[in-house]
């Protein structure tokens, strides 16, 4: 873990801190997201694990509603561990897609768009995956009621 952090700290100074790593994963600016993924892929983290989006509603008067997208990669070697980092964007922003690097990002990002609402820039086919195509709203928003009706079936 320390070696890859050291390499990342050299390559992306200011983003990764090798001495006090953030246990939740470093916050990476959106424009360096793909570069970080590419660097990790060259350094042994070739297995795509998952991407997770979360909705943080605006807190207070000046707060901005944000999405936080966490990406997890794994190195499929003897001492394997999962490496993750986070990207925070405002709700109308976009996270650049990892589809050219990892084929598995296609469906994962579609699912997060479907449920959470975070958009991925450059995705070849960003449409709903889990819910019907004509569904309105993104269920995993914090202000989406879990008992939302969907006539005529419920």
């Amino acid at each position: 873990m320390n070696e890859i952090l050291a390499k990342l700290a050299t390559e992306f100074p200011g983003v990764f801190d090798a001495e006090n790593p953030d246990p939740s994963g470093a916050l990476v600016p959106a424009d360096q997201h793909v570069a970080v993924a590419a660097f990790l892929k060259e350094n042994g983290f070739t297995k795509y694990v998952t991407v997770v989006g979360s909705h943080y509603p605006a807190s207070g008067d000046e707060g901005v509603a944000e999405y936080e997208v966490g990406t997890v990669l794994r190195n499929p070697t003897r001492n394997s561990f999962a490496f993750m980092w986070r990207v925070r964007i405002p709700m109308d922003g976009e996270v650049p897609t990892l589809c050219p690097l990892f084929a598995g990002a296609d469906w994962q990002e579609r699912e997060q768009f479907d449920l959470v609402g975070v958009r991925f820039g450059g995705h070849p086919d960003l449409r709903r995956l889990m819910l019907p195509e004509d569904w309105e709203g993104h269920p995993l928003h914090k202000d989406y009621a879990i008992e939302t009706a969907h006539p005529p079936w419920r």
């Binding site: 246990p23 939740s24 994963g25 793909v34 590419a38 892929k41 070739t46 297995k47 795509y48 694990v49 998952t50 997770v52 979360s54 966490g70 997890v72 794994r74 499929p76 070697t77 003897r78 001492n79 394997s80 561990f81 999962a82 993750m84 986070r86 050219p100 690097l101 990892f102 084929a103 598995g104 296609d106 469906w107 994962q108 699912e111 449920l115 070849p124 086919d125 709903r128 995956l129 889990m130 819910l131 019907p132 269920p139 995993l140 989406y144 879990i146």
Partner: protein, 395 residues
Amino acid sequence: MEVRVPTRPNPHLDIDAYDADADLMALNMGPQHPSTHGVMRIKLFLDGEVIVKAVPYPGYLHRGVEKLCEKLTFVQIIPIVDKHDYVAPMTNEQAIAVAFERTLGIEVPRRARYLRTILAELTRIGSHLLWLGTFTLDIGGTIGGGASVMMYTFREREKILDCFENLTGSRFHYNTHTVGGNRHEIPDGWVDQVKAITALMKIRVPEYEELCTGNEIFNLRTQGVGVVDADLALELGLCGPNLRGSGVDHDLRRDQPFHAYDEIEVNVAVAQGGDCHARYQVRIAELYESIRIIESIIDKIPDGPLSSQRPVKSHLGVKIKTGCHYHSIETPRGELGTYIIGGGDNKSASPYRLKIRPPSLHSMSALPYLLVGHTVSDVVAILGSLDPIMGEVDR
């Protein structure tokens, strides 16, 4: 950025621009279909009999579990998560329990870890038996003769389910794991029951293997079909037997040990070739390996407490640590991971966001790559060999 290898099929092929002269037919498979993998729909675009583009549509079983878990505590989450990979129920609970334990730094006593390992390996045997039964059922046809292996494997699986019923009280959806250990103590005679199962499996599994590998139709339908090369498999996030069938030597039981696997030697089965037959061979080898693991530790379960935590008086007792955490274990299908985001202060008993990383979703996302160039009859074989479980895919 690396250059995309041009021989990989394009899953987002534009059908209208494909070929003006070709007469493409759109064939819909599912969501209700004779193959036994649950509700999934695949839209196939066929040029004659050959598939040009395949578009799977998951989501027919989307039960909104991630939204539900945001207002539940861990005691309530465990039986819900149980219902994802319903063919291997023990490992679902174990994934959540391990994730919570590693996040909170709770140590699991050795007795519970050994019991969990035995349960995980028994579940692996049960899951692979069911997979073998339904795989051959799909390939052979219900009335055609594929049902023979299914009847045999389900007969063995009943004995494993009896074993679980003896321990926990139910055949399915046990709710026997908690944070810090297990709930149900091993009854008398359970160890002998497990030994009887392994002794029986050592006789039966070679029979099943001979039935399948010795069958020419089975070989013709699975060899060379649905080839995944190692790079594509890793990029897609394939894991478990699907990844090991493509030649990648990666198994979380050995590489990031959990339960009692750090004290046990696990021989990882890897097959070259990446086709359906390779994945079948990996699963058969895993059956043998699970039998060996159970036999090596069934007599050595250490004494001691079964849970390191006192029985929880209120389900609000366990709090989730702030921050993002990801932990995963190896289930019969691959890497089942849990991504938990804890609330703002360390005092929330429900996760802010809980995401399950299902191995079957990645297997299904491989379908647009794998099905191109094959015929419709190969779809069933490929789907069976990837072993997706829709409860996991859709959550």
